[in-house]
Amino acid sequence: MAVTTAPGRTPRTGPAGPRPTRRRAGRARLGEGLAGYVFLSPWLIGLMGVTAIPMLLSLWLSFTDYDILTPLSEVRWVGLANYERMFTADPSYWHAVRVTLTFALIAVPLKLAAALGVALLLNRAWRGVGLFRSLFYLPSLLGGSVALAIVWVNMFNRDGAFNSFLALFGVEGLPWVSDPDWALETLMVLAIWQFGAPMVIFLAGLKQVPTELYEAAAVDGAGAWRRFRAVTLPMLSPVIFFNLVLETINGFQGFTAAFVLSNGTGGPVDSTLMYTLKLYISGFTDLEMGYASAMAWVFLVAIGVVTAVFFSTGRFWVHYSDGDDS
């Protein structure tokens, strides 16, 4: 992957930067500004049409009883009823919140730990290390794919490959994916296994840690663990921070695998009823799109809050090595 950088980038200004010539600078700038917007327009139109407008629409819908089948012109305004129902009258909503939190709290730290561990191993000048990097990255390329989820479900069936493997050691496996005590854990393992993307980012971060810091630490008599704690971790903290924020958001949004594993029901016995799946079921199966929209907005706010919390705590542990010469 494109983890290599162009070292010693020449200081070139961005596309809208001023050109050397000064003649009729005002007009030129205007022209360039216009060109900028023209070039931006496909994205802008996409953003407005595909994201912004539907989003605002869904905000409005969250205060209505929209059921998909009824035309938009005939929906009824129900005020806060959807939100009220979500918080007070729908136990399965809170169940979905619990499932999602459990999933994120366990899968995200483990995934990051796996990513960092493997990144440390691969951050060496071995022969063929590039191949291993690609191999470890592969699972996350397959990312949210349905095919992968199907393979996973089959692997962890009662008579799947994983249990056959256990049988070699005389261990009788469980029906992992159809046991309500284990289905979510199976999904967590799948998520953790896809640690390639944060791993690549960690690798890139590791490359940026100045080697002289390690050399200095070694001269001072620091061992490997000490160097990791005192040099690697602080120097890597911005990247850890980035991965943490990104993966937490990803973790909250887990959908595909849960959908495939449960045939879109969140089963067995709601054990894989992730928030987004509950939202989907409400909107498309139960035809309560207004309610689903309300759920989506609460979700957005919740993710925003979690992210804000990360950012506000970040100042205590994220080390940007700027300001004072550290």
Binding site: M1, V3, T4, T5, A6, P7, R9, V50, T51, P54, M55, D67, I68, L69, T70, S140, G143, R158, P175, S178, D179, P180, A197, P198, V200, I201, A204, K207, Q208, P210, T211, E212, P238, V239, F242, V245, L246, I249, Q253, N263, G264, T265, G267, P268, V269, I281, F284, T285, D286, L287, M289, A296, L300, G304, T307, F311, Y320, S321, D322, G323
Partner: protein
């Protein structure tokens, strides 16, 4: 979709003094982008389809669920229509049952629903109640839609709030499909129509002991089995806009099957869970994980394709008058369609044209037109099809009156039953707790 390259792009590695602000900003910027990604997922498509007016050539969109065999038969029948009416061509879309109704709802929301679509009793009231379907009553009155050869109860099973919302594309009824080969090999008796539920469970236990294959799938999560059982107790699934049963009834139902599980007559809960899938290929009778499955009679030929063993089919246990002539699925017309008359004529054709009906066979159930049903039955060659026709014709003498079409909220009632029954199966709730949970959830679903 990670921006995997990003952190490196900000600053070169090694000796250079890092440009600190850039880097901090970069990390934050990336996080902001990441935050924006979920928003992009909220998008919904809109579209408007412009079709020609009256007269001229008509392109009619048709949407149905089913397998490849059904697609082939349906396409042939529609091609026949085009042959007879060269002005009319079809835009055909079909897919598996899973996800079909999600798609149909989305198409409707996008203002782009098919002119003619297949629907079943799980959703008919949802769509008809929101005036998405065309009331076909006037076409029936004017004779453009000929339903005179339909059994009365089958026709009425398409009426919601006094409007003819769908025309039965075929008739079916509940069927208990069993593995004949397995039973014969072990010298075990075959189940018969009219066995009591207790007898069925005892039989299943006997099968399990002898063959090591559990005798019956546990149908406690299956609404159609619960429905038949309720009707046999003088209850029903719905009564007007209310539930037709109480928590006590459901407790008894769950207890009946808890007993069966305790006796080893059924598979283990995780296998039961697998069999609760609506997917034909996962039915336990074809995957070999139980000797019987609870299905619809017209699914026999499809089941047969998935196994080498011989299959047999009988009615569900108990008095067969608990069963009824059910519209296996309907054809409905979108109310806002620009080609309503043509769409209705196509429905008429698919149900009443001898050639078309012969082509379609019993794939969607027994033909609704009784005259043509007789013909199809005479000429059927596929043994599985023959058998399902045979069983259903026998049962037709014993059927009870049709219940009302399931009401708005029914799809949720179905999924709540699965949840409650599985809670009991996995031992996470007693039958009484599960029943209580189910009834409470139902009440809010249909409110």
């Amino acid at each position: 979709m990670h921006p995997a390259t990003s952190p490196t792009a900000g600053a070169p590695a090694g000796r250079h003094h890092r440009t600190p602000l850039t880097r901090r900003r970069l990390v934050r910027g990336l996080a902001a982008v990441a935050l924006a990604v979920p928003l992009a997922l909220g998008a919904a498509g809109c579209g408007d389809d412009d079709a020609g007016g009256d007269g001229g050539p008509v392109k009619l969109s048709v949407f149905w669920w089913g397998g490849e065999a059904r697609a082939k038969l349906t396409e042939d029948a529609l091609a026949l229509y085009t042959k007879k009416h060269p002005d009319v061509t079809f835009e055909k879309t079909w897919q598996a049952n899973q996800g079909y109704f999600d798609k149909l709802a989305t198409l409707t929301a996008g203002g782009n629903p098919p002119d003619l679509f297949q629907i079943d009793d799980n959703y008919l009231a949802e769509y008809a109640g929101r005036s998405t379907t065309l009331d076909l009553g006037s076409y029936q009155d004017s004779g453009k839609l000929d339903v005179s050869k339909f059994p009365k109860s089958l026709l009425e099973y398409g009426v919601v709030d006094g409007k003819l919302a769908g025309v039965a594309a075929g008739e079916n009824t509940q069927g208990l499909v069993y593995n004949k080969t397995l039973l014969q090999k072990n010298g075990l008796p075959e189940p018969t129509t009219g066995m009591s539920w207790e007898e069925h469970i005892a039989w299943a236990e006997q099968v399990a002991k002898k063959t090591k294959v559990p005798g019956t799938q546990d149908p406690s999560a299956d609404y159609k089995a619960l429905w038949v059982w309720l009707r046999q107790q003088g209850k029903d699934l719905y009564n007007g806009k209310e539930l037709g049963f109480t928590a006590e009834d459901v407790t008894k139902w769950f207890e009946l099957w808890k007993g069966a599980r305790d006796r080893g007559a059924t598979p283990k809960p995780d296998v039961i869970h697998e069999g609760n899938s609506s997917d034909i290929t996962k039915q336990l009778v074809v995957t070999g994980k139980s000797a019987t499955s609870w299905v619809w009679v017209n699914q026999m030929p499809d089941l047969k394709k998935n196994t080498k063993d011989e299959l047999g089919v009988v009615a569900y246990p108990g008095d067969p008058s608990g069963q009824w002539a059910r519209a296996s699925m309907y054809w409905s017309v979108f109310k806002g369609s620009k080609h309503k008359d043509v769409a209705v004529d196509v429905i008429n054709f698919l149900n009443n044209d001898p050639e078309a009906v012969a082509l379609l066979g019993t794939d969607r159930g027994l033909p609704s037109n009784m005259d043509l049903r007789a013909k199809v039955s005479e000429t059927a060659t596929d043994p599985a099809m023959k058998q399902s026709i045979q069983v259903e014709s026998d049962l037709a003498q014993k059927f009870g009156a049709s219940p009302q079409v399931p009401i708005k909220g029914h799809s949720k009632v179905k999924s709540e039953l699965v949840k409650a029954a599985e809670n009991a199966q996995y031992g996470r709730a007693t039958p009484a707790q599960a029943a209580e949970q189910f009834v409470t959830a139902c009440k809010s679903a249909i409110a």
